[in-house]
Symmetry: C2
DNA sequence: CGAGATGTTGAGACATGTCAAAGCCAGTGG
DNA sequence: CCACTGGCTTTGACATGTCTCAACATCTCG
């Protein structure tokens, strides 16, 4: 999973050729499609042509909005994105946070409209994949089809996890460990996390009150599990956190 | 959506040719693939050959178990199936109930193992689709690929709904209306529901205590929203139920 | 009829939410 | 540099929805 030189990667018209982009593609959800040999070269080129790099978006800007026709899925290249649903009474419900390499928008397929908003949490750049083109390509390139199937399957499993009925402690421990794993996969520290989002977003995502998140973090700190400074969290005892979260994480 | 004579349907070695099977295929999640013209006839025949009808299973028997290698997805033909996860502490978490025509097992793709058990709630028969064969076929028959994409996308959206933080009233109202819709699609009454599952399963699915389900049903009855007799529920005021559930159902 | 599920009801406990106030920090403008 | 503003976070006191526990009612089926 670590960045390696010399492997195949996604070129694109805007590609500056710097190492940063190369590292991105090796950790992207689609990366393995490109990095695997043995596929039809022409189809692969088609995939590369199909990707559009978007201009940077700033915190608060929307990648897509609830109700818009579903036209494309996006891979985060840099920054962090949250997806949210606003219900009838105007209450926000956060569905997920997405790191570089992760894919958003697949849930729009079912109704052919996006069922949620996607909002940049800081400065964000994206790869845009036109879905009609991508699905045509998927019929020619089995690796893409399989990747899409697997990613959607993963989303189903993830969504079910949050649906379980767990205590505030279990939820928060699982949240921290999940972020830790995902940061680690991307080459960041697994024990020193920077939470980009406000407490209120974490709380909302976990279906808790912001005050509860604050209190649980404090208790975790008092118990020596973590150290919190503003939005920096240091996991002092991942093992004990794992034990707390074992039911949620299912292992 | 109503059963019609004379349309294409899925034949199979075990097919007895009675009207029941014909009705099934028109409401099956995959039905539209077969009922639509214009596809490659050979591929269509392949799809038909790929389906296996399973022998009837009895209440409590397992279609697949958590941890088993993912090999196939199943469409329910008759009866009702529940899927559940057992966590580290042995607590059951019900993920869904599945009616005839609905598909189970797609969530096994991600890890190549089923992440949950599927259990028959009464006498159940199924169509089994070998997934490796199906995905090969999907590259040849775009309709199948699209259907699979859409079904998985639907599962993501559904899973997210239950994840929201809603009151017991909202959850139960949404549950009843959801069942009502799904029964209606299958030609059953939309207002007189037969709940196949015990209260404890409903409660577990909605992340409530069985006692809470019991109490809310009683209150709904006292308020004239429904009439409950054992596992028979008569929706007396679907409108008021919809109003209660509007946030969950997002419309 | 009796035994074991399943379902209902009540009383009390508890986790989490709500409300209100105060602290903290970053940025702005004087 | 300071005071001010506004967002975010923390903390405390209190309210409440849902759970837990226990008893009882009901149904199913041998």
């Amino acid at each position: 999973m670590s960045p390696q030189g010399g492997v195949l990667r996604w070129p694109s018209p805007q590609d500056q050729g710097d190492g940063d982009i190369q590292r991105f593609c090796t950790t992207c959800a689609f990366g393995r499609v490109c990095l695997t040999d043995g596929y039809d070269k022409r189809a692969l080129e088609d995939l590369h042509c199909l990707v559009e790099h978007t201009a940077p978006m700033h915190a608060g800007e929307e990648v897509f909005r609830h109700g818009e026709p579903f036209a494309a899925i996006y891979a985060v290249r840099a920054g962090m994105v949250k997806t949210r649903r606003i219900d009838e009474q105007g209450r926000e419900q956060i569905l997920g946070f997405f790191l570089p390499g992760e894919l958003i928008g697949l849930n729009g397929l079912y109704t052919a409209r996006y069922p949620c908003d996607a909002v940049a949490l800081d400065t964000v750049t994206l790869c845009r994949f036109s879905f009609p083109q991508l699905s045509v390509l998927a019929t020619r390139l089995p690796g893409i089809q399989e990747t899409l199937f697997r990613l959607m399957s993963k989303d189903i499993v993830n969504a079910a996890l949050l649906g379980g009925d767990y205590s505030a402690d279990e939820r928060l421990a699982a949240f921290l460990l999940n972020l830790s794993d995902r940061f680690a996969e991307r080459g960041y520290s697994a024990t020193r996390l920077h939470l980009m989002m406000p407490r209120s977003d974490i709380a909302n995502y976990l279906r808790l009150a912001p005050e509860t998140v604050s209190r649980v973090l404090r208790r975790f700190q008092d118990d020596g599990l973590i150290e919190v400074d503003k939005r920096e969290v240091h996991l002092r005892s991942p093992e004990r956190l794992k034990h707390l979260a074992r039911c949620v994480l299912q292992q």
